[in-house]
């Protein structure tokens, strides 16, 4: 997995470097150092170091997978669903749905505690951000007032 992560960084770095060479000039039209100067240096260094690390660490053993990887994955998936729901359900409803789903996953069997927290915290946060601070909170597509 470590090699996979490094390979991913290497691929992104290679794309970045290619763009820096293909689209950005080393010198500007006035003869000064141009927009490609710094990105090219960064890109080449990044590609070289990632490639070197991939080779140097190829025999380094990965740690065993944690027994909690499923919970971590579930939490990450719920976070992604939460972000996706913001534009659809709006801020308050998505917060309540996320809290309910994650507490149901992590804090099983305590229905009353979960229900209270799943409603109270989102409502408090909504009041803090939307009402008190007048900050942006997603409206969603349902046309609800919150």
């Amino acid at each position: 997995m470590r090699a996979g992560f490094l390979a991913g960084v290497l691929a992104a770095a290679a794309g970045y470097t290619w763009l820096a060479f293909a689209e950005l000039a080393w010198l500007s039209s006035a003869g000064r150092l141009g927009p490609g100067f710094f990105p090219r240096i960064i890109g080449v260094s990044l590609v070289a170091l990632c490639a070197f690390s991939l080779v140097a660490d190829r025999r380094a053993a990965d740690e065993a997978l944690s027994p909690f990887w499923r919970t971590t994955l579930a939490l990450a998936a719920l976070s992604a669903l939460f972000v996706a729901a913001l534009d659809v359900l709006g801020g308050l409803l998505s917060m309540i749905a996320f809290m309910a789903a994650s507490l149901w996953t992590l804090n099983r069997g305590r229905h009353l505690q979960n229900a209270a927290l799943a409603i109270a915290l989102p409502v408090c946060l909504y009041l803090l951000f939307r009402v008190w601070l007048n900050a942006a909170v997603p409206r969603g597509m349902l046309g609800l007032p919150f």
Binding site: F5, P35, S45, S102, A135
Partner: protein, 499 residues
């Protein structure tokens, strides 16, 4: 105006009722942030940045700074009572703090850590008051070569001193630099890596990245390591102890450790990139070396708790020096503070103390008051914080995700930035898992534009010669300090490898 005149001006700003209220709120939030493992001051500051939008700039920065140094106090409570540091800078407090608690001396350990934090924090602020104006005078002569070298010094220090694989640290910093080049090139007006997206023209905002890496990423990692399953059953029941207050002997024994830790911590804090964690670990080693009874260290030596505590708090004060006088943050948390300054139209640098004395000295004066408030909170509100330690992580974690997500969205009302925060969270998890440095990434992202601009300006001035970086005395000093810090870091790594 002299230092006392400036401090009086600062105090007149800091003691206004509204600033005092935000100061107290800040230290309270800082304490809570310090207690929650896996949620550090960088994430907390980034999440709470939008909350400050409706405030006066000075009040906002006073509150954010209080969260920053308040978190250094809170992190130690869990180290002593639970053997789990709330912050990385409180790791050293577990070495002797937890053994003290197991021996029935949790009360004295908690009070002594509060006193040490207070002494370190306050001595640090006194040193800021004395040294920052002088530092400001010196740095007024700094030009592009010195600024470029300072950025390089900060990142090198961070990568070498924090430990782990140095190559992964450099890769993290380079990724940060690469992300910092996205957007319009300010010198030529060319778009870079924007792919025609209007959202990317102004570049990648580092707030979602910081919240993702330090909020979500740390939290996922905490779950991955099973923090939610460990519970708080191991919390030492200090209330049952006969003696809560430390003895006179505790104070006498640790007086030199307090002083040494404070001075060392401040010096380390001033060096960009070194920070509170390094300061506390170095202080622990120093105290062990200086002790007549080194065999007691690790088994409940009060000096082993007090020295590092004074050091990490003095370091968090020291880190304000390069931030205020150069505009160069030394850590991820101070990088968020820098962003807060810039959001409020305050440009930290050599001229800040001269041009905005009421702001700069108001902040410094508030730090004196903040440390007093933190001492009182730490001694008298310990039962409250112990109750917080007992809050199950499985309940805290979804709440933190909620705050991170809504906090990110509220900055610019952008769903793209919210997705960016989520992606940064995943990347942050893998970075933690494989030993990369999220702090180096964020610091490079923040300092990238300054590094690029000062490098290009330096080479334009010199006609392309790199000799400009060794021509001036100031540059040579910065290079010498960088080499010294790197050598020290390498020596520490070797010593650590030898066990």
């Amino acid at each position: 105006m002299d230092i006392f005149g400036n401090l009086l001006l600062g105090l007149s700003v800091a003691v206004s009722p509204i600033n005092l209220a935000y100061l107290f709120l800040g230290v309270l939030i800082g304490m809570i942030v310090g207690i929650i493992p896996g949620f550090g001051p960088a994430a907390a500051l980034a999440v709470l940045l939008p909350v400050t939008f409706g405030m006066e700039p000075t009040s906002a920065v006073i509150m954010l700074a209080a969260i920053y140094y308040g978190s250094q106090y809170g992190g130690t409570i869990t180290s002593i009572l639970l053997n789990t540091p709330g912050e990385s800078s409180s790791v050293a407090a577990t070495f002797d703090g937890y053994p003290l608690a197991q021996q029935g001396r949790a009360g004295p350990a908690l009070v002594m850590q509060a006193v040490a934090s207070f002494v370190g924090g306050t001595l640090g602020v006194i040193l800021i008051s004395v040294l920052a104006p002088a530092f400001s005078q010196v740095t007024r002569s700094f030009g592009p070569p010195e600024f470029f070298l300072l950025v390089v010094m900060g990142l090198c220090t961070l990568i070498v001193m924090v430990g782990g694989n140095w190559r992964y640290g450099v890769i993290s910093a380079l990724v940060g630099f690469a992300l910092g080049t996205v957007g319009v090139d300010l010198e030529t007006g060319n778009s870079r890596f924007t792919f025609g997206s209007a959202e990317l023209i102004e570049g990648i905002d580092f707030i979602p990245i910081a919240i993702g890496l330090f909020g979500l990423g740390e939290l996922y990692y905490a779950f991955y390591t099973g923090l939610h399953a460990s519970g708080s059953g191991g919390v030492v029941q200090y209330q049952k102890e006969r003696r809560f207050w430390p003895t006179l002997e505790d104070f006498v024994e640790t007086r030199m450790a307090l002083l040494r830790g404070s001075l060392l911590g401040f010096v380390i804090g001033v060096i960009p990139g070194a920070g509170a964690t390094i300061a506390s670990l170095m202080s622990y080693s120093m105290e062990k070396s200086a002790s007549r009874t080194p065999e007691k260290f690790g088994k409940g030596a009060m000096a082993g708790l007090v020295g590092p505590e004074a050091a990490n708090n003095a370091a968090s004060s020291g880190a304000m020096v390069p931030l205020l006088t150069l505009g160069i943050p030394g850590s991820a948390a101070t990088a968020v503070l820098l962003a807060a300054f810039l959001l409020w139209g305050l440009t930290p640098g050599p001229l800040l103390m001269a041009q905005k004395p009421e702001f700069a000295w108001g902040l410094i004066a508030s730090m004196y008051l903040g440390n007093v408030a933190l001492l009182a909170l730490n001694v008298f509100a310990i039962p409250l914080f112990v109750q917080m330690i007992k809050l199950p992580y499985r309940l805290l974690a979804p709440s933190v995700i909620l705050i991170c997500t809504i906090g990110t969205y509220s900055v610019h009302g952008s769903i793209v930035e919210t997705w960016l925060m989520f992606a940064a969270g995943l990347v942050g998890f893998f970075m933690k898992r494989y030993g990369f440095s999220p702090a180096a990434l964020v610091l490079a992202l923040v300092l990238g534009p300054l590094a690029e601009q000062s490098l290009r300006q330096s080479l334009t001035i010199s006609g392309g010669s790199f000799g400009i970086f060794v021509e001036r005395t100031a540059s040579l000093w910065i290079l010498a300090i960088t080499v010294a810090v790197l050598a020290l870091g390498i020596l520490m790594r070797r010593a650590s490898a030898r066990g």
